[in-house]
Symmetry: C2
Subunit: 373 residues, 2 copies
């Protein structure tokens, strides 16, 4: 039976069926028991887990067993720079920052400035350009509240002095056959793109190398990135490290109802760099789940699942479950009309972005403390 | 018509027909005119060129044109560490050192400590081990008389902070198809070995990056390495640099008559680390071109072309043409018997190695001046 959706690190097509994807990728759901266990250990639940936005995992129970034995984990995640970060890009970092705060985890963040350069044809994406973006991304990430002493950001072309040697150790154990289909590569793929996954694997054991002992690692990521680690997990275990644990998030939808918000679609995505008017304009054009007229909406109500405004609240802009329920209910029963609904979200996003801009301003010139060096 | 020899960077099989290889690789002979031109510009000829050990070239006349216009070239060469260096490994460095002295060329030397790690199955060749060898090789090379201010050695895993970014720029322009057959790769080749050629290409333009202008580059190398640059030459030109010029050397034969001395054959190769008795023992077991008995040799004489002792003199241990002729004549007309012939070579090699050891001793602790840093 042909799949009507396709998920690789380089492309997400069609409406993703996450249950089927779980089987396809050989990953497991985050169970209610796990959800409770995390909440108990953290001292509070996290809305992204409770709402099943982080929906799947590898080896999560093992990681928490180790944690309870006193064997603390570190967190590894990252972002490949391609332009201004969108709000959807924040999902792994929001989780990483929370894990740092609640579990005392050190956080390693890879910013592979060569990744889009190697994998995209866009001539604008020179290495110098993506390197500039990498530094902007670092600032955007840190402004979420990371602690300097517990955070290490590395940018591939700048920190290759550390990374390349470790990537080569991984690369020796990965053949082209092993990755060709999984990444959608062919013989016409460039040899930098082919090598790249070994660089992404380094974060899964970088702290073990630094400390000269096996350190558990947890990776929060968008589920499209899982394939990088499906291969790396086996390899790093053979190298004598722990397989990393992973928690997988769903894709935050675009404002136009796209299944995955894409930074290459300026109208479907809210960028962290968007000024207030732009946010208002974009949100105003968003797809909602409402009826075609105010009358019909008041009569029949809308569908929050199809409403990108509701989804924005759910993914990022209303962490309070009760308040979220009110918003979704109002959409469903037709008491809140589209205009009001959108204006409220735009305001909420702009509040967040304003605070974020101020935090970035404060951190300028202090970034060195966060970099691997 | 099947070839009865095969030359790739990873394997040399059969008796190499250099004329046919020249056609196969699309390279050109070093003509007598070129030989004279080099001698005139250098102020003296070099025996390795005069004896056609450096036998082929790419773009040599262009390079010398630039030189005469005042556009000086730099030299790029290297060695992939796999064990103690053999005397055969010295050929590109003897040439590079002479070019430094006579043409005032800066010399960049790559020591890719990941290369054998990625391409060999030998479990002894860990990255830490090859890195240790890289430092030994650096000392062995510098002891040939390189000038600290005009020499930059870089070791891949240590200098990846500089190299990786440049290698990625090359890699984007090289597909797996482009290199698969040329290197004898398959889908079962590891992705580090696949990426590697882009790292080797960096030396062809590293000085242009440093200086922010196009600098001509000359690469002296064993002809088996040409394939790396056949691809790189086109790529770096598209990147806006000069295609590097190349001079190609033949393979120094092994003591047992092997067409290419191999560091993995301890009895066929003289290592720079061999103590005097070992040199004597190995040379004593060498293949000569002599008849089976002293009587027959005196009567019919021998064949210097088949005599590894004569070849050792020709390649490295007798730069004086007149003296070499005497040695070859004595072999040919039967006046010098094998024992005497071998003893004289062993003595000559040991003199060289003794001087080399002393020079290395003197340079210990001073290596920093030669490293890229």
């Amino acid at each position: 039976m042909p799949e009507e959706f396709n998920v690789t690190p380089y492309e997400v097509e069609g409406k993703v069926n996450y249950e089927r994807l779980t089987e396809q990728f050989g990953i497991n759901p985050i169970t209610e028991d796990m959800e409770k266990r995390i909440a108990r250990l953290a001292g509070e639940p996290h809305y992204l887990i409770r709402r099943k936005i982080y929906f799947a995992q590898r080896e999560l129970n093992w990681l928490l067993d180790e944690y309870e034995k006193g064997n603390k984990f570190y967190v590894y995640t990252g972002i490949a720079p391609s332009g201004s970060m969108t709000v959807a890009h924040l999902l792994p970092f929001v989780m990483a920052q929370w894990l740092q705060e609640k579990f005392g985890a050190d956080v390693y963040i890879q910013i592979p400035d060569e990744e889009k350069f190697l994998n995209k044809k866009d001539p604008k994406l020179t290495l110098d350009y993506t390197n500039g973006l990498a530094h902007q991304d670092a600032l955007d990430i840190v402004a979420l509240g990371f602690k300097p002493k517990k955070t290490k950001i590395y940018i591939d072309t700048e920190n290759a002095g550390v990374l390349y040697k470790q990537a080569v150790r991984v690369a020796k154990r990965v053949t082209f056959s092993m990755i060709k289909d999984a990444f959608g590569f062919s013989n016409e793929t460039n040899i930098g793109a082919i090598f790249y996954t070994s660089t992404q694997a380094v974060g899964t054991f970088i702290k073990s190398v630094e400390e000269g002992r096996k350190v558990p690692c947890l990776i929060p990521l968008g589920v499209d990135q899982d394939v990088h680690f499906r291969i790396a997990r086996d390899v790093v275990e053979k190298m004598g490290y722990y397989k990393p644990a992973i928690i997988h998030s769903k894709f935050m939808p675009g404002l136009k109802g796209e299944p995955k918000m894409s930074s290459s679609d300026p109208n479907g995505a809210i960028y962290l760099s968007d000024p207030p008017e732009t946010v208002e304009r974009k949100v105003n054009k968003a797809i909602t789940g409402q009826q075609s007229t105010a009358e019909l909406q008041k009569k029949y109500g809308g569908d929050p699942e199809k409403c990108s405004v509701c989804q924005y609240y759910k993914y990022l802009f209303e962490p309070d479950d009760k308040k979220l329920k009110k918003i979704l209910d109002a959409e469903r029963d037709g008491t809140m009309l589209a205009g009001e609904h959108k204006a409220a979200l735009a305001e909420r996003i702009n509040e967040f972005l304003e605070k974020h801009r101020k935090e970035k301003e404060r951190l300028k010139g202090k970034m060195e403390e966060f970099m691997l060096g």
